[in-house]
């Protein structure tokens, strides 16, 4: 029986909780109570979790943050559950959706080969004559389309919805990563009432699953990212006037001036005077042949598996990157006892890097000036083909490909609050506009990675500036705070201008 759980990690300990199990497509799957269904399945060596909607191509765990469509399955009769985030419970029944007869052998996958018959928009040009043809075809389309299935009647007693909780506050901070926590701290220090929401069980955002060591000579020097997350979160909870909602998944900013979020205890309806959006980014999906093969995942996905759940994403990995993040990830994979067969780096080269030296000494090949051409494997990844600018090709064996090629900012909530979005060519990112005080519109402030900001020290400065500016706009804070605002502006934007 496969077990991809990391037995001993050089610097992380995992509280998996008690052993339990659930049923996946008729077979029992071992799990631990602090795992999600997705983590337990990856630990059991499961690579494929669903089939794509039109061509029924096998799909695996891509993002592990509940944002991509790949890991949807039916859980205890509820359709389209993102199992990467769904906590295990004993005797849970998990079933793949929209497959016939099974996930492993899905007869509808023949549609993948018949793609020439169904080009996009085919339905508009066909089935026009004779008249009875469209109703007939439509019934066939309906039975093949759709992802989950609902029973006509519920046999169990109807779920009771808890009452929605209204929360009035001065400042709502959306996102509990380093920028959001810094904003909340700065605002609360002026006496502002702050409500912070974050979708994680704990605060810290992406720092929670990152193990990079902070090298800059600042207050976090020598600490690993997840330790910094804890330090920031601990600082937050000591402050007055802060209400933390985590896990709380934002639903939207609505025209009534309410930010609604889903918590385990029902809806919370926050009515703030000001917003600070520090909602971060999602990893991008690079485009190459078969970029949807099970085994291909984002950097975030690999890090969450390894560092939150203590599960190896695979046995032999390759990395596709365009920044030093790829090198850091390689070290992390090696720490988790995953072989790293290659780093495929789009950059022409790097001048110097301690991590690169370490990796080279561990015999991890780094291919600069390279891009992904193709991922190969029958139903799961088993190799990749790359190419340099000069046309020199390579084939690299791997069962896991971690991609770290760019990001997409999470701007939905900022836009709903009226912030204007712009394309920033420096980072190839669509993000909210803002001024030197991080103000985006009359009620909204923005900060952090969603603006393309790096490194961590700058992210926390921006967060602090945004939170402080929001509070000052409500006439909270004093002249000392105003001076601090000016200093922060100078630190954040002065550095950029020079």
């Amino acid at each position: 029986m496969k077990n991809q759980r990391i037995p001993d990690h050089p610097y992380l300990a995992f509280d998996r909780g008690r052993k339990t199990h659930f049923i996946f497509d008729g077979s029992e799957c071992e799990a631990y109570e602090n795992e999600t269904v997705g983590a337990a399945l990856v630990a059991a060596g499961v690579k494929t979790i669903s089939r794509s909607t039109k061509y029924h191509r096998p799909r695996g765990f891509l993002c592990f943050t509940g944002r991509c469509p790949n890991c949807m399955a039916e859980v205890n009769g509820i359709p389209n559950v993102r199992v990467c985030r769904e906590k295990v419970s004993p005797d849970m029944i998990v079933r793949a959706q929209n497959v016939f007869p099974s996930l492993r052998i899905d007869l509808y996958s023949v549609l993948d080969r018949l793609d020439f018959a169904f080009p996009v928009g085919f339905q508009y040009k066909r089935f026009i004559r004779p008249r009875y043809l469209w109703p007939f075809v439509e019934r066939r389309i309906r039975s093949v389309a759709g992802i989950g299935r609902l029973p006509m009647q519920l046999q169990v007693k109807r779920e009771k919805s808890p009452k929605a909780r209204p929360v009035e506050t001065d400042i709502a901070v959306v996102g509990g990563g380093p920028a959001g926590i810094s904003a909340a701290i700065a605002a609360a220090e002026t006496g502002a009432g702050v409500a912070l929401i974050d979708e994680g069980n704990e605060l810290g955002g992406h720092l929670r699953w990152n193990t990079d060591m902070e090298e800059s000579p600042n207050e976090f020097a020598g600490m690993r990212a997840f330790q910094i997350a804890k330090k920031l979160a601990d600082r937050l909870v000591t402050l007055q006037h802060i209400r933390i909602f985590a896990p709380a998944i934002a639903i939207g900013v609505f025209s009534e001036g309410i930010l609604a979020a889903e918590t385990p205890d029902g809806l919370v309806e926050i009515k703030p005077k000001r917003y600070v959006f520090a909602t971060g980014c999602t990893d991008r999906l690079p485009i190459f042949e078969n970029n949807d093969l099970p085994g291909i995942m984002t950097k975030t996905s690999a890090q969450i598996l390894m560092h939150i759940y203590g599960v190896r994403p695979g046995n032999e990995a390759a990395i596709y990157c365009s920044s030093d993040e790829g090198f850091a990830l390689a070290s992390q994979l090696l720490d988790a006892k995953v072989r790293v067969n290659a780093i495929v780096d789009k950059r022409k080269g790097v001048s110097q890097s301690k991590t690169l030296e370490t990796l080279t000494s561990q015999e991890v090949p780094v291919h600069f000036n390279s891009r992904m051409v193709r991922a190969s494997g029958r139903n799961r990844l088993n190799s990749i083909q790359t190419s340099t600018e000069g046309g020199h090709g390579q084939t690299i064996t791997c069962d896991t490909l971690c991609v770290a090629i760019g990001r997409q900012a999470v701007c939905e909530l900022a836009q709903q609050a009226g912030c204007e979005l712009t394309y920033d060519p420096r980072f190839e990112l669509v993000r909210p506009i803002h001024d030197d005080h991080m103000k985006s519109n009359a009620e909204s402030y923005v900060a952090g990675e969603m603006l393309g900001t790096q490194p961590l020290s700058m992210i926390t400065l921006e967060g602090r500036l945004a939170g402080l500016s929001a509070a000052l706009s409500l006439d909270l804070g004093d002249s000392a705070r105003l001076r601090e605002q000016a200093d922060l502006t100078s630190s954040v934007f002065g550095n950029r201008r020079s």
Binding site: R67, V120, E159, R284, E289, D292, Y423, L429
Partner: protein, 91 residues
């Protein structure tokens, strides 16, 4: 499995699908969205938006800045009716 370059995981749209649609006059982000279904699936553009903007910019020979952004509507994540009805439920 046939080799495909997937741009939209939700609707199984390939790079070729989108290029064909753009060439056939659906070269505005909103029109492309409606014709192909890109950005309208369960991920609500979280994995495809930047790729789509870059494709439109390249094929229209304009800067990505001019492509615009669609209206990004609630809910941020697909949210069940049982949650959304809030306290309006009755027995």
């Amino acid at each position: 499995m046939k080799p495909k370059k997937i741009v939209c995981l939700c609707e199984d749209l390939t790079k070729e699908d989108l290029e064909d649609a753009i060439k056939n006059g659906f070269n505005d982000l909103e029109l492309l969205k409606r014709f192909t279904g890109v950005c309208t699936g369960p991920c609500q553009a979280k994995f495809c938006l930047m790729n789509v903007i870059q494709m439109l910019s390249e094929m229209n020979h304009t800067k990505p800045e001019s492509i615009g952004v669609p209206a990004l509507r609630p809910p941020f994540r697909p949210t069940r009716l049982a949650v959304l009805r809030g306290d309006a439920a009755e027995e």
